[in-house]
Assembly symmetry: C2
Homo-oligomer: 238 residues x 2
DNA sequence: AAATTAAGCGTCAAACAGACGATTAATACA
DNA sequence: TGTATTAATCGTCTGTTTGACGCTTAATTT
């Protein structure tokens, strides 16, 4: 259906969505990149992206692109920032809405890699990307840190069953620090978000570490926020 | 200059910028709205917005629109979120990048009000707006709270000289709570961000309250972040 | 069975939170 | 003139959380 009237303004542009996809393989924080299939800058590493469809909103476009790339639906997906420098794409002005996604890397369908020339890179060893995609990744990394400091989003990167050492390593990877494991356990237990299973992971150590799952009900309430200046600002409802 | 090649994709759309402008008059948190000048929904209350120009990036477009509306430059301006529902504008598909701004309401040039049919509303008494602008405002309010809990951004809403009671009232307005003034003073002093002046404001009370200014140098370092799970995540550089 | 490795618990001091009592300054008014 | 009033500001108390770190426990290797 065509709508009859239009605005009297000539500057219509392409709108794209680019996805920063994070994964965690138990050792390193990783990012999923693809070899760009079209000109300009064909065969360069880039984020997975695409133009928005006619009847799609932005989130839907991001979900579609993510599904195409990973075979996954219902992924943690968050709008990051929109990039609109007139010269950011040399071929034609394109405004790009960046989304960042957290996926369980084990659920990723590897056969897709070949199809899209996709590859997982350790975040700190990722190659330089086209256009302003490096800026997007940098921003996404910061946002991930920021969010993870207040919300239990890093669980999105873990498989359904995971051990505390795995979790701790993930935090250490994300923030590039090392943490005291004794204090870490104490804090994690204090959140009440984890359910201890009877099963143990014996691969990582001699003693073996218990598996845990997320308490999904409590997860939805999220961490209480750790704010001193304003008590619990996220819980204020007005 | 026309660029020759284009992407083989037909779905070019309008990109707009909408501004959520917050102000504080010493009593209430306010928002600046305009009566929409064009169809559709002419004469309805809305956010101030406009289409992006050909050689403008998004931030520049927002600055331009803000300057047109308020006469101000160099205001606190932050990209909020981008809205792209296909039907959000009934006339024609328009993707809108929302920005939120914090201004010192005293610097606002009132003669502009007439020109754009602009009006300041108490945030909690603001009228319903066109399109998805209500959603934008709601999001902006949340972002303001979130940001203000970790960063000293509320000073952007205050005049150069202000009193502690004014500052406290501002926090109370933003979060819709009442705070203990004795504890508030203690915390504010602990930040080291304020410089006490000799001058007093005698209007507000019998005793009078000292004026303070921001220590701009320290302001730039921002508050330290109050995070328990990860120590000082914002200060981590990698 | 002894050494090794890593998981996980307990303790402590310092920092900081919220609650709230007491003091101080300036004005209003009897 | 002094006394009540109002609001700004300081101080104290108690409970919670933090980071540091010693110690115990479980399971495997030799």
């Amino acid at each position: 259906m065509m709508r009859e009237l239009k605005y009297r303004h000539s500057n219509r542009v392409l709108v794209a969505v680019d996805c920063i996809v994070f994964g965690y393989d138990g050792e390193h924080l990783k990012i999923l990149l693809v070899k760009r299939a079209i000109e300009p800058q064909k065969d360069q590493w880039s984020l997975m992206g695409g133009f928005i469809g006619k009847n799609e909103n932005l989130q839907e476009a991001a979900s579609r692109i993510l599904h195409t790339l990973t075979g996954l639906k219902n992924v943690y997906l968050e709008q990051l920032e929109t990039y609109g420098d007139p010269e950011r794409d040399p071929l034609e002005r394109t405004v790009s809405v960046a989304y960042f996604a957290l996926i369980d890397i084990n659920k990723y369908k590897t056969q897709i890699s070949d199809l899209y020339h996709a590859e997982w890179f350790e975040l700190r060893k990722a190659p330089s990307l086209i256009f302003d995609h490096n800026v997007m990744v940098h921003k996404a990394k910061n946002r991930l840190r920021y969010q993870a400091a207040f919300h239990p989003i890093l669980f999105e990167l873990l498989p359904p069953k995971f051990t505390i050492p795995q979790l701790q390593n993930l935090y250490e990877q994300v923030y590039g620090i090392s943490m005291d494991n004794r204090n870490f356990i104490r804090k994690v237990n204090a959140t009440g978000l984890l359910i201890k299973l009877d099963e143990k992971d014996r691969a990582g150590s001699k003693r073996g570490a218990y598996y845990y799952t997320l308490d999904v009900t409590k997860y939805k309430d999220k961490f209480r926020s750790f704010i001193h200046f304003i008590p619990y600002p996220e819980q204020l409802v007005h």
